[in-house]
Symmetry: C2
Subunit: 513 residues, 2 copies
């Protein structure tokens, strides 16, 4: 662990604002605040550590303290990096070795209060450091949800969701984060952005609120937000369907996307992921075991499903009882056309909840010399099958070109549907025992995959964001003027670059001169 | 009409890019490009004209020409004002007398092509100068709509909708403009903003596309956009309900907003507007006349509706036949609880289409010495009734304080509903014969109304925007740092202030030094 750099003038400026318990240089804490959940970061934690980590971690407990921290940072030449759940997979928190100034991680998790709930106008003001599980349970006590359920919901925070332009698994019913957030309060280098009123929708010319969405910590620290509330659904049911192969499953997803409304969550897993899910399934006993065996025989025998081709779609239905029944009917009627077979509610529920855990399997397999991770994209419908095929092939090729042992594990699922296309989520892993610089090889394979994603018409990211990991790809999708807008805007709103740079590194280094 | 200022160096720079037919100094055309549809502007057109109008009007026919115009403007110190349908009601097009540089109106209406339609991924790329009626008819030939129907849809353009963050009457089904637009191409002072791909949704860090929404021409010229398409609905029906008074109608609207989905359009008109609609109703004949008389007797007799209190809600239902029937059932079931009485389909249709015409009634009444106009706001549900009452009272008071003749006409309707609140649209008019500086009095009354809107918790605007008319109110709703973000961003992205200033005038004059 590198020694913390001297930030005594910064800390002195905060002496009256923060208690000693709100500042730390503890090595383990500094380490934890200097990384997210990419494979290279987790590997670094388990091996050589990082060349640079935050020098201090501070824990503001209210907005005034955040204001004091930002002012002290600007006055004393330190860098601030807002920290929420630490669950990013974009190297957003990685500290740049070339940064000469002290780096301060601003841990927002002590600002986790629901400030108010307005049950009639269905809004709540929530502090940015509140984690998803806390928000869910606090709102549920009042009969509400904000409906935002990313895979990381246990740890990720409201501020992080806004900063990364997040998407929840039930966006069909509740919307993505930009649909849910009505207002944000931000402490920036130019002062505190806040509004006197919150209204359902408005037209007010240039709207700084929009610039904060997806800003990835580069423009300021989000301290709170007003979000929409939804009553807890009267009814929730799960469901699943089996299809003969990925093409058929995708054709079903496309046709479903032509409907006026979809179930809260609809997700298609490919064959490999389907098999993987079967392996992780708890073993059945007694009558259940018999039923399960009969079903298995029925599916692979008379119904002609090929275990090496079949795929599954899982559903979460939410709404009034009538709505849920109507959605079920719509889905199962449509399934007939595509020769889908009902896989039952238990499988649907397991498929849905499995996602919450699957992110953590990576840490587990790492102990067994397997490097694995996920990445996602969004793509118009007509390019979805082609993109999935090409990205898988590119990973196989990159793996083979490097003479790595065995075969890579490459799998995908379609996790979100829109009128115009879908989000595809890939998992890849490979056996790394004895591979020299396995993390470097992993990074090269992932880069090859990302290039193929873009070449096949996919986006850089559907909801993970850019961070530092994907910055090199921004020039592939944005014209020079569009990048100049980003750079000029960052320089104008954060002239001293107090906040974690979002710019391409070389440009940022230039701008900082 | 002021003489056009000398812009010979600008025009010389464009000599090879534009044909002579693409540039004009025609007085009538310059006049038309120097105003929108506010009462003071229309009055100026009918009386003394404007101290300043655009010096030239140019008509680009493709994107290259827009690029040439912007480059020539930056090189030769002229101001550009993009022009679409000219239907704004915010004085967005008013030319500032203090502007020393030549002002060039860039009329986009020759760039009105549908560039491509992708019927499978349900997207179309459309040039920014295309007017709503053209977009509607062109897409309908392919079985699609983009679903955006503002009152001004006949004349207003795609570029204008994006620049003003517009809302359509059927937003419940199709979304507001920010939900419909997937990508924009913009020619800015820093160059052309464009993307290599269009995807359904993404997370790419700072996203300049979002900054253009609501930019009101201040950051560049929108040349085209990719928008979502929706299949034309299988079924469309109209409907209407009568309620005993505004409170009851509003209570119905609130309860409807708690449902998971609403009919495409739902609008509540207050009693005065209801009566006004009755006056404009074409006279019935024969059997229809008899039926109409019987209905009238039934409503005001046995059903106990008071003609001086009753209000109406009109509906547009769209979707599959089953969806439409379900929506109708939901609405009419809910109506029973609030003692609503079915007013029939014809009344619903007339109520909906009346809106398209009502904007033009203002020009008609102006000939009869009546000054009248509309303005809108959005507000949380719990404040809606109070806001409506207070704004009406404020207008009556301001009218009385000025000893103006007769009574003002003040009326409102609720035009959009959200989970969290609604949009309220006001009409006000007064008899101005013999009133010295009637337009000045009108402006004062409107300012009093706007202040009351804000004091009652309403927004500056739900969808009209800010323009120059409402700039003085921005400091009432945004903190100083939030306004500094707007100013700094404008200066950073348009350092020479080529585009129509959006800043508070004094700050802009300062920034321009």
């Amino acid at each position: 662990m590198p020694e913390p750099r001297d930030a005594s003038s910064f800390l002195a400026a905060l002496a009256s604002a923060l208690q000693p318990s709100q500042v730390t240089t503890d090595d383990a804490i500094r380490l934890r605040h200097g990384h997210g959940h990419t494979v290279s970061e987790i590997n670094a934690v388990r091996s050589n550590g990082f060349p640079r980590v935050p020098d201090y971690v501070v824990y503001p407990e209210d907005e005034q303290q955040v204001i004091a921290i930002v002012r002290a940072a600007a006055d004393n030449g330190v860098v601030l990096m807002p920290y929420g759940g630490g669950t990013n997979v974009t190297e957003a928190l990685r500290c740049l070795p070339y940064e000469e100034r002290p780096i301060i991680s601003v841990d927002m998790t002590r600002m986790d209060r629901i400030e108010w709930i307005d049950p009639v106008n269905r809004m709540a003001k929530i502090q940015a450091g509140a984690a998803g599980r806390l928000i869910q349970s606090a709102l549920a006590q009042h009969g509400f949800t904000m409906g935002h359920e990313p895979d990381s919901v246990e740890f990720s925070t409201l501020g992080g969701w806004i900063a990364t332009n997040a998407s929840g698994m039930k966006k069909n019913r509740y919307g993505n984060i930009e649909d849910i957030v009505l207002d944000v309060t931000v402490v920036s280098a130019l002062g505190k952005l806040e509004r006197a009123q919150v209204v359902p929708r408005e037209s007010i010319g240039l709207d700084p609120k929009l610039w904060v969405i997806g800003s990835e910590g580069s423009l300021g620290i989000i301290t709170s937000a007003v979000v929409k509330l939804f009553p807890l659904p009267e009814e929730r049911r799960y469901g699943s369907l089996l299809f003969h192969n990925f093409e058929r499953g995708l054709a079903f997803m496309f046709e479903l996307a032509q409907k006026d409304s979809y179930p809260a969550s609809v997700r298609l897993v490919d064959n490999l992921q389907f098999q993987f899910g079967q392996v992780l399934k708890p073993e059945s006993k007694g009558a259940k075991k018999m039923k399960s065996k009969v079903e298995k025989w029925l599916v692979t025998g008379p119904l002609g499903f090929d275990p090496s081709q079949m795929v599954a779609i899982t559903f979460v239905f939410e709404g009034t009882k009538e709505d849920v029944e109507r959605q079920e009917k719509m889905v199962y009627d449509l399934a007939k056309k595509h020769k889908g077979f009902k896989g039952g509610e238990a499988n649907g529920k397991r498929g849905y909840t499995l996602t919450f855990g699957i992110a953590y399997i990576r840490d587990f397999v790492l102990q067994h010399n397997i490097l694995g991770e996920s990445f996602e994209t969004s793509v118009p419908w007509t390019q979805a099958q082609d993109l999935a095929d090409r990205v898988k092939a590119a990973i196989y090729k990159a793996h083979k070109d490097r003479n790595l042992p065995g075969n890579p594990f490459v799998s995908c699922r379609v996790t979100q549907i829109y009128e115009t296309g879908c989000c595809i989520y890939f998992y890849m892993a490979f056996y790394a025992k004895g591979v020299p610089d396995a993390v470097g090889a992993y990074h090269e394979i992932e880069t090859a995959a990302r290039k193929e994603v873009l070449a096949a018409g996919g986006s850089i990211s559907h909801h993970h964001g850019v961070g530092k990991l994907r910055l090199p790809f921004v020039s592939d999708i944005m014209s020079p003027a569009m990048r100049a807008w980003r750079d000029q805007m960052k320089c104008a709103l954060d002239p001293q670059s107090v906040f974690a740079p979002q710019l391409p590194l070389e440009e940022h280094a230039e701008a900082a001169v």
